[in-house]
Subunit: 327 residues, 2 copies
């Protein structure tokens, strides 16, 4: 069923049908005739032809490091919510099985003339080699702060600082860290900087002993064992993510230490698992869903309100400390 066929059936010109669909001056008689034919035939306009002619594609790409992860799925959910509301489709691109394909995905999205894209920046390598710059659709980066680039990110620094202050307030003075790979600037670097800042302000000058782990619970478990082997007297542990925090708690309990009597533990993410572990794990909650919503809103601002695209918008989101039994 094409627009032309509808026009013939209704005895009008194609232009009239187009005006029926998109609004334009049309006599009541013709309107009715077209309406009737369309209802009868169940005609649906070909969106591809529409998009080609108008040059506007109501699709937004979202690039993520992987899909099945709490923070990622929350950001996607937030973005989808806002985009769907505004009539845009969300097109997914995951880097999990093709880690170096940010450029390929962006090319693809440009080829489709998509309205814009949201990029969850897991690492900043692509920013350094300029993948984002020479892209002629509007982009918003999430989870990481970059100069000259629309972005929505979390206050990892202060959240980590507050968690550390909480450890100090509980009388902990020998703090150790289970960190994440440095390739992730926000998680692997920013959070540890927050810890250091809190310790520095409290007068503890040497940097805290830190072991780098790779996000998983098992790896957090091993990292904790290593920390304990080198520094058996630690009494406060900062973990960069919840799963590593849970792994660390396992190692601590296994070593005979009591939480929080002997050691306090804090982590990051507010996963629901933290409520079922014993003790419950104290964490900082980041507003991931809001992050996705805000990224989408920025995009819509650029697309719909036609606001200055060269002006870069940056949004830093807050956090919430969830104090639980582990401190």
């Amino acid at each position: 069923m094409t627009l032309r066929e509808i026009a013939e059936l209704a005895g009008v010109s194609p232009s009239a049908v187009s005006r029926y669909l998109n609004g334009g001056s049309l006599s009541a008689a013709k309107y009715e005739a077209i309406d009737k034919v369309i209802k009868e035939t169940g005609y649906v306009p070909n969106q591809v032809a529409h998009d080609l002619r108008t040059g506007r594609v109501r699709q937004v790409g979202i690039l993520v490091p992987k899909i099945h992860s709490k923070s990622v799925s929350q950001v996607v959910e937030g973005a989808h919510e806002v985009l769907a509301e505004a009539g845009y489709m969300t097109v997914l691109g995951s880097l999990e099985h093709a880690p170096d394909s940010v450029g390929r995905y962006l090319d693809w999205m440009q080829a489709y003339h998509m309205a814009g894209a949201i990029v969850m920046a897991a690492n900043d390598a692509d920013v350094r080699n300029g993948t984002y710059k020479n892209c002629d659709i509007p982009l918003v980066v999430t989870g990481q702060h970059f100069k000259d680039c629309n972005c929505v990110y979390h206050d990892d620094f202060n959240a980590a600082k507050d968690l550390t202050k909480l450890l100090l307030k509980k009388g902990r003075t020998r703090i150790g860290c289970v960190s994440a790979p440095k390739t992730d600037p926000a998680v692997g670097v920013g959070r540890i900087e927050g810890v250091k800042a809190a310790l520095w302000e409290a007068g503890f000058t040497p940097a805290p002993p830190t072991v780098i782990s790779d996000f998983h619970m098992e790896s957090g478990y091993e990292a904790m064992q290593q920390l304990l082997a080198d520094h058996p007297d630690l009494d406060g542990i900062f973990c960069a993510t919840d799963s590593m925090g849970q792994g660390a708690m396992m190692a601590l309990k296994e070593s005979g230490r009591r939480i929080p009597e002997d050691v306090s533990v804090v982590a990051f993410g507010n996963d629901w698992a933290n409520q079922v572990s014993s003790p419950q794990l104290t964490t900082a909650e980041l507003y991931q869903t809001q992050c996705g919503r805000d990224a989408a809103s920025i995009l819509l601002d650029i697309l719909e309100k036609g606001s200055e695209p060269s002006y870069t918008r940056q949004i830093m989101l807050g956090y919430r400390i969830m104090e639980r039994g582990s401190v």
Copy 2:
């Protein structure tokens, strides 16, 4: 930059450029000339125009009840993996903020002439009112079994039966259930049927006391309290999902019962939280990622191999019982 401009710059006809892009007889000299111009200008063919002309859109829609959920994100991940590999984009549609819009999404996907769609059927209302039937792009339904419909689903019945047999093997004879709403045929009905079948075969004729809960931990907690109020002597609890299982364990512990000494608990889903709770929760793991992969593969079979579309394919996936401390 359009194909025509490239043709002019290279001094050839548009057809030649098209042949360069899509493969077709072309002299070496012309090939080189076009290649040079394309490399210099960074030309990317307009995919929308391509799709309009060929009538083939390399996009597949995936309809989900919500995005941020373990099982959903796993299915999406599996589907995306297979689709991306085959050169298709994954377009997301979530029903969370527009519960009744399965039809609207399908219309949208048809308007875009997408290659196909994967539908995670959270409830079967849409099947009953035929939303899926009068859709002229190929569909694959996941998570639920339907006649005359491509689908990939789990063996909820036997998984639940095996979990129940495990309870029986541990000497539990007074079994209670925390179930899910009946609007979800697989989770809310199929799993309980499995429990009943196991009990029946073991000679326990009366149906087990069952309270319906709505998936969340809090609601599982309340359901368990109610079960205990009505049947204080229960010694084995079957929960239809992990989160409800964790809620149930909380209620049991709070009532002073010891797990697994006084009561055994089993649930469904193998969430990682089950490893950090104490005791660790025994569950059945379903292969959600595989479910997504299989759904995508069925679609690709229909699209690429052009296999009989009227022939419906049905795949039932297995499961794995993860026995842990809660039994």
